[in-house]
């Protein structure tokens, strides 16, 4: 898979950066022939992953840095969102629909990532941090029938 373009960034763990990351990744992803709908889906997935890093990974420590990388290939975009925060003890459980360690939250972040991206992988160690790696395929001119259902 030949890399067409690569972006790495890091930003402070602040709620305002959720909206920033969403717009920045969509602008970068527009270099591929994603549909507008694909871009909207990508934005939701990025928002959820970045919000998790800020809210759950770091709690409230705004000086901590969230790392995000995006790689474009002819096949699509791979996005990594990483924090060096609290980590997740049981990843499988965390990814279950409606599971949240915070009673105020809906526990649908990972569900959205999985429904809007073609691949989602979560690597985490308690006390060390979490890395979410997601891939979204670009269907460009492919006929609708060959597009996977999300």
């Amino acid at each position: 898979m030949k890399v067409i373009n690569q972006l790495k960034m890091e930003f402070q763990s602040l709620p305002a950066n959720v909206a920033f990351a969403r717009v920045a990744v969509a602008a970068f992803a527009s270099q591929l022939d994603f549909t507008l709908n694909d871009l909207e889906e990508l934005k939701v997935a990025v928002s959820e992953a970045v919000a998790n890093a800020i809210v759950h990974g770091y709690g409230s420590s705004p000086s901590a840095m969230v790392r995000l990388s995006a790689t474009l290939t002819e096949q699509g975009i791979e996005i990594r969102v990483e924090d060096s925060g609290r980590g997740i003890a049981d990843v499988r459980k965390a990814m279950e629909p409606a599971f949240s360690t915070d009673p105020e939250r809906m526990g649908l972040g990972f569900v959205f990532m999985q429904s809007f991206m073609d691949r989602v992988q979560v690597d985490s160690s308690p006390g060390k941090g979490t890395r979410v790696t997601m891939f979204k395929q670009v269907n460009g001119g492919a006929p609708a029938a060959s597009q996977g259902t999300h």
């Binding site: 909206a19 920033f20 717009v23 969509a26 602008a27 527009s30 270099q31 507008l36 871009l39």
Partner: protein, 77 residues
């Protein structure tokens, strides 16, 4: 002129949907209205509040609507 057209078509980092174009138009209107009301150029926060959208969406719509930021850059890149 052909180059500028090409720029508008190919080099725009923001894909333009109809709703983004509408937002761009509403930003243009809000900008004029707010300038009249407060007697100075409005800030991005004031425009976002007026339209009930995020600051980042204001930026996206501005980028989508605009002519090349640097025509010179386009022609000579």
């Amino acid at each position: 002129v052909g180059e500028i057209r090409r720029f508008l078509r190919d080099d725009n980092p923001v894909k333009v949907s109809r709703s983004v174009k509408e937002t761009a138009y509403r930003i243009h209107q809000a900008r004029q209205k707010l300038t009249g009301r407060i007697g100075r150029e409005p800030t991005v926060g004031e425009v976002a509040a007026e339209l009930g959208i995020s600051r980042e969406d204001v930026v996206t719509a501005m980028e989508a609507a605009q002519a090349p930021t640097s025509i010179y850059e386009t022609l000579h890149q």
